[in-house]
């Protein structure tokens, strides 16, 4: 047993030290693994960053009301009558006589994206007078809030970074109407940061959607009051609506989108990993072929086939681990922490960061190790089967 360990470590050290003699192939297979790992990390970091961003938005004493079964905001409809019923529901906070609610209408408009200088969809949200106070982390950082009943808009700071033409003070034309940018708001780490906001009544009339909302936000007295509202809505047959706390709502949205990125990540990652595996197999078979006289010699001397097998395995594992580390380095340099914008589930632009997590890094390492294990296994068996015969050793 001790002897087997010594044999394996001797053979492994010889293999590894002779890798420079097979530099070109070895580098190619390291790079292939690195690419596969980078692609995997890219999409996993995308999903993770998105989920972090979306989950950051959400209070649990704010209720969001959508049409039952609507799933996403854009598919939802809430009528003015329904809005009025909910405004009278128990547990709704009031400012004087007026309930703190906001009926909202989200429409999609075109904007010019800075990075690509092309048109892309932007979310344009009509909100009620209480829309700002219903979002706890949103602050006006430049200018002021729009005045109800006017063609004024305020713009999210994240959207400003990504899109041109919406700077503070500008006059813009959207759907044949002139709008004035009167303020910039910040909603760091939330979806709102990438939106344009205007008065909901003006939005309804200018976008031709009279008396129709998509969602409704309601300030409840407590998280428990949100549950009460759920029951209230459930028990009223006129209200075919769904109530979620803001936090629940965004968690649900996030899980859909991150789920998609995770699927893409693993699909592309696995396809590329298979490519990298083919490269690793090729490299390791070439390595075994190059070393076959050496292996035959060692076998003649009395080294066991296991030593030849494990030596090959360890070489493969080292190359793929190196590829994995290189992939991680590439990911950290190329995109970790960078912000990007992408289509979220509602076809709207959402600005967020790529974010690697320890879990994601561990998955990447596991994938690299699996490539190494499979890439070393069959060539390792071939190495173990090199026959200890003089004429083989003489080649």
């Amino acid at each position: 047993m001790a002897s087997l360990f010594k044999q394996i470590s001797a053979v492994t050290s010889m293999n590894v030290r002779s890798i420079p003699q097979r530099a070109a192939m070895s580098i190619a297979s390291v790079v292939a693994v690195a690419l596969a790992i980078s692609v995997l990390l890219f999409f996993l970091a995308l999903g993770h960053g998105l989920s972090q961003t979306v989950q950051g938005s959400g209070a649990n004493d704010v209720a969001i009301v959508l049409r039952d079964g609507a799933g996403a905001e854009l598919n939802s409809v809430v009528t003015r009558d329904q809005l009025n019923i909910i405004a009278q529901a128990p547990g709704v906070v009031r400012r004087g006589q007026a309930p703190i609610i906001s009926g909202e209408l989200l429409v999609i408009v075109d904007g010019n994206k800075r990075s690509t200088n092309t048109n892309a969809n932007m979310p344009f949200r009509g909100i009620g007078p209480e829309g700002l106070s219903l979002r706890h982390n949103v602050h006006i950082v430049q200018g002021r809030m729009f005045r109800p009943g006017t063609n004024e808009i305020v713009v999210g700071a994240g959207l400003l970074r990504e899109f041109s033409g919406f700077e503070f003070g500008r006059t813009i034309r959207l759907r044949g109407t002139t709008w004035q940018v009167v303020g910039v708001f910040e909603a760091p780490g939330t979806v709102f940061d990438s939106e344009l906001w205007a008065d909901v009544a003006v939005t309804q009339s200018l976008f031709n959607r009279p008396n129709v909302y998509q969602t409704m936000r309601v300030q409840m007295t407590s998280p428990a009051a949100v549950q009460t509202l759920k029951r209230f809505v459930h028990d009223d047959p006129r209200l075919q609506l769904q109530v979620l706390s803001e936090r629940e709502y965004y968690a649900q949205q996030a899980s859909q989108s991150t789920g998609q990125f995770t699927i893409i990540a693993w699909f592309l990652g696995v396809v590329m990993a298979i490519g990298a595996l083919a490269g690793a197999l090729n490299t390791m078979y070439a390595s075994v072929a190059a070393r076959s006289a050496e292996i035959a010699t060692l076998r003649i001397i009395g080294f066991s086939g296991y030593a030849a097998f494990f030596g090959t395995m360890v070489e493969a594992l080292m190359l793929s681990a190196l590829g994995g580390v290189l992939g991680l380095v590439i990911s950290f340099i190329a995109f970790n922490g960078r912000s990007t914008s992408t289509l979220s589930s509602g076809f709207t632009q959402l600005v967020f960061r790529f974010e690697l997590s320890p879990g994601i890094i561990v998955s990447a390492i596991i994938v690299a190790v699996i490539i190494g294990l499979f890439g070393g296994f069959l060539p390792g068996i071939r190495a173990a089967r090199v026959r200890p015969q003089l004429e083989l050793a003489a080649q």
Binding site: A2, M14, E294, G302, E391
Partner: protein, 229 residues
Amino acid sequence: MTDLIRLTDVEKTYTRGKEKIAIFERLSMRIEQGDFLALMGPSGSGKTTLLNLLGGTDRATRGTIEFDGKRIDKLSEGQLTNWRAQNVGFIFQFYNLMPILTAAQNVELPLLLTNLSPKKRRENVATALNIVGLSDRARHKPREMSGGQQQRVAIARAIVADPKLLLCDEPTGDLDRTTADEVLGTLQLLNRDLGKTIVMVTHDAAAAKFAKRTLHLDKGHFVASELAA
């Protein structure tokens, strides 16, 4: 003198497709302890095949092979591997040193198969290198040495674990006359002073003169034998 090796009615056939090629049909031979035997014969006569059978690196199709009174043809692959490590030193035409290792590390390889301590291993390596006259080259890599020096490192590797039998396939095939004679002198010394039994395949009649006797092989049969003068 006692026999170290006894081959009885050994048959060796290769099958290539449906065709059967018999290299040996009924080969018998004895090699005494302390013998230095040169094997000669035309190319393809079966010299390397015979060395493989003697050294346990190949198996006979039929017949028995005894070493030191024990049947080695009955051993399993793993047992045979261990048997080789303990009983046989191999010397190759092209030295077969590991290019990445120094002379001392190459010589140490067979000792990794033993339970010797690192200190004892270093001592034995030093002794073996001393016997072949290369103590001053311990830290050199193979490519930094001449062919003759490399072959002497290979000889040190073959004797370091103190096997009874040395098998050499054309050990001087790649060397000039003077260097070849030095290497053959070393083998002779190992045979005479350390009592190693040596079987050496060679094409070179001058090399065969260093042996105690020579056997001529042709088409799988011994056709002649002569004793050294």
